[in-house]
Every structure is written in structure tokens, then in C-alpha cells.
Amino acid sequence: MQDLASAFATALALIAAGDRSVAQIVLLSLRVSLTALMVAALVGLPLGALLAVTRFPGRRVIVVVLNALMGLPPVVAGLLIYLLLSRSGPLGPLGLLFTPTAMVIAQAVLITPILAALTRQVLEGLWDEYAEQLRSFGASAARAVPTLLWDGRFALLTVLLAGFGRASAEVGAVMIVGGNIEGFTRVMTTAIALETSKGDLPLALALGMILMLIVVAVNVLAQGLRDAAGRWTG
């Protein structure tokens, strides 16, 4: 008990002092997850919107596969990216393994299906409502995609936050493809896992608290956005 209390105290002191290695880890985590989110959004949002507005043979299969991929275990995603990027893999010559870029790729692969599947769900309801009116205006399905993405913007922000939450909280994928190299590819989750196993509880706790803080902040933001959405959706 004594140990735990002093570990907490040390952790708080680390945060308060703005410890450099802590700051570095936090910033890298944010950079990796936000970049992954951006990449995944560029692919996942239009893909989800397209699935919401089109009807073609095989669409159901894609939807089912996407929904299944939402539950893709991070370690499996990490393993696949590892195989692609490893020296003997097809993308080995790029030399990306154990770099932050590899971590971005892994997290993007992990959350793209989540963004696409959630986007489809959110926009399908909107499309039910809009389809006839947009057809009356002469809008093609391709033209309807940006319309739905814009009109669903508040709901989609919550989708993005879900993706960000998933990316920043996972350990397995970044551990495998990043290698948890101190000062280079060490992020909050991998650092927490390592420090805990080494018994350095203060650092693990400090990072854990910051991670929690980020998660809470993200959710507060999500709530605020939902409230703002109410003004427009009526």
C-alpha cells in the first residue's frame, strides 16, 4: 500500500515537472495516432459513404467483412504489417520496420474498417431520408457521397473519435511493428506495458494517468459535439 501511494506521488511529480521523456512519449503517441486517424479517415469515410448510397451485388459481403474487421485483434494487424515490412517481406526494401511510420500504418490498418463500418451505419439512415430528394435534384450516387459526409458531419466526428480512441489505446500492433525503442518508437501504451513488467510503477502510472486524461478529454469533446449537432439536425 505504501509503495502504491509513493508510486502515485512520484507519478504526479513526473507529470508536474513536465518530465522530458514522458513528454516525448506522449507527443509521439499523439502524432502516430492522429496521423493514422487522418490516413484511415481519408479511406474509411468515403468508403463507408459509398457503401451507404450504392446497391450492387457483393455489397452485403463487403459490409459483413468490414463489420468482422472491426474486431481485428491488434496483434494480428501488427503481425500482418510486420510480415509486409520485414526485411524479407514485399515492402522490406522501404526499411520502415521499427519506425513511427510502421506504427502509423499498423494503426491505420486497424481503424480503417472501424471508420468505414461506422460511417456506413451512420450515413445509411441519412441516405434513407435524403435519397428521393437528391434524386429529384439529379444528384448521382457519387455526388451524394460528399453531401452525406457533410450533412452527417457531427455524427461522423463521433465516429472519428471512436477511431482515435481505438488507435491510441492499442498496444499489440505498435509493439510488434514499432519495437518499443526508447526515444524513437516508444509510445504510451508500450511504455506502460514495459515499465509495469520492469516494476517501474511511477512512470507507468504517470503515463496511464495521461492516457486516461486524453480519453476523458476526447469523450467530453464528443459530448459537446453531439450537443452542437442537436442545433442543426432539429
Binding site: E129, Y130, E132, Q133, R135, S136, F137, G138, A139, R143, T147, W150, D151, G152, R231, W232, T233, G234
Partner: protein, 240 residues
């Protein structure tokens, strides 16, 4: 006056619509000419909304066809429709009005001018920056009308545009409809308000149970309805 370049008359030939084996409309032979508004009336469920959707091209006929007999090309781009339940985008009032104009590739300045003029026409100019979905039901209906009118269509389908309007707003919409008709826009409109039919109609299409029972000039329809159903409908006795 409208140039000879026109998509009218609109003609249907044996037009029918079946949903899940249930006939909704059958044997509709209509010719809709340019000129004063055509009012489509009939009891609830008669098939008025379905008929307008078929004419506008939103539903594919199960039988027969819809033909635009005028010489002008691209009839689908020269028509607009206001639905019985208006669908407003989650944007401002002005952005809603601009949306179809941008879609029709009308230049920025021109579309802004047209949108604001249309909003003034329906008395919503002051609400241009409000979220459209926060408008009252009647205001939403007027916005939907402005949005369609801004397109400057040659033919405008209006499905019960006055359904949730107060008497003053109903009069206002009737005036707008008369103004548009005066400018040469062909109006095809449904209503349950017989007074409105008297005030606006050039000709009347009376639908009952998915069939056109009458298509006659308005004066004749009120003076001497040809069918027994129309007679009892006018007396307020015809149920579905």
C-alpha cells in the same frame, strides 16, 4: 411567354404502378399541357403522390410510360418537385436553397442571387442563416417550395404544399403558385382543399382507387362532374 423550346406536353400511356403485387395505379392516360395549374385531387390513398413520383421519374412505371412530347432535350433537368413531407438538408436555409443550384452547375453569383430571390418570394429572406431543420413545419414547407422554384423549372410538381400551413400562409403559397404559373411555370399540384382547386386550377385530375376518374377543365369539374365518385367527393361524402 415561354420560348417554343419546351418539354411539354407531358403524356402518359397506360401508366400503371404495382407495389409487391398490389396495384396502386392503373391505366392512367393523361395529357398535361402548358398553361394554368393542373390540380390532382382524390381521397387519401387514391394514388396522388405515387402519380406525381411517376411523372417526375422517381418511380419506374410497372406498366405503360411517361413521355415528354415537347422538342426540348433533357426533360429530367427541367422539372422539380416539392414532397408532401419536405426533406431539408442539415444546413442553413440559404445553403438548402443553393444546393440544387450548385448541383445544376449554375455559377456562384447567379445562384446566390436566385436563391435569395426565391427566399424573398416565400418570405424567408430574414431566416437565410438559420439552421433549416429548426424552422417550423410551415416554414419548412415554404423553404422546400423556394428551393424548387429557384431552379426555375419548366414544370413543378407540388405534393400538398399547403398541408400544414395556416390560412394566411396558405394564401401566400397560393399567390406564389399563381406568380410562378403567370411566369410560365407549369404547376402540377395535389391538395385536399377544394377552395384552393377553385382558386388555382386550370384543369382537374380526379383520382379514385388508383384510377383517373376524370380529367376536365376546372369549371366543368365543379359544375358537372361526370362520375358518381366525383359528385360524392365534392359533397364530402366519398370515403377512400
Amino acid at each position: 411567354m415561354r420560348a417554343p423550346d419546351t418539354i411539354l406536353p407531358l403524356r402518359t400511356d397506360g401508366l400503371g404502378f404495382t407495389a409487391g403485387g398490389v396495384p396502386i395505379l392503373a391505366d392512367v392516360d393523361l395529357t398535361i399541357e402548358a398553361g394554368a395549374p393542373t390540380l390532382v385531387i382524390g381521397p387519401n390513398g387514391a394514388g396522388k403522390s405515387v402519380l406525381l413520383r411517376l411523372l417526375h421519374g422517381l418511380l419506374a412505371p410497372s406498366a405503360g410510360c411517361v413521355a415528354w412530347d415537347g422538342p426540348a432535350p433533357n426533360p429530367e433537368r427541367r422539372q422539380a418537385m416539392v414532397f408532401q413531407r419536405p426533406v431539408l438538408l442539415r444546413r442553413s436555409v440559404l445553403a438548402n436553397t443553393l444546393y440544387p443550384l450548385r448541383l445544376a452547375r449554375i455559377a456562384g453569383d447567379e445562384s446566390e442571387m436566385r436563391a435569395r430571390a426565391a427566399l424573398s418570394l416565400v418570405g424567408l429572406a430574414a431566416l437565410a442563416d438559420r439552421p433549416a431543420r429548426r424552422l417550423s413545419g410551415g416554414e419548412q414547407q415554404r423553404l422546400a417550395l423556394a428551393r424548387a422554384a429557384a431552379l426555375g423549372p419548366e414544370i413543378l410538381f407540388l405534393d400538398e404544399p399547403c398541408a400544414s400551413l395556416d390560412p394566411a400562409a396558405t394564401r401566400a403559397v397560393e399567390e406564389i403558385v399563381a406568380t410562378l404559373a403567370g411566369r410560365g411555370t407549369k404547376i402540377v399540384m395535389t391538395t385536399h382543399d377544394l377552395g384552393q382547386v377553385r382558386r388555382l386550377a386550370g384543369d382537374v385530375v380526379f383520382l379514385h382507387r388508383g384510377r383517373v376518374r376524370e380529367h376536365t377543365p376546372a369549371a366543368q369539374f365543379f359544375a358537372a362532374p361526370a362520375s358518381a365518385e366525383a359528385t360524392s367527393f365534392l359533397r364530402g361524402e366519398l370515403l377512400w
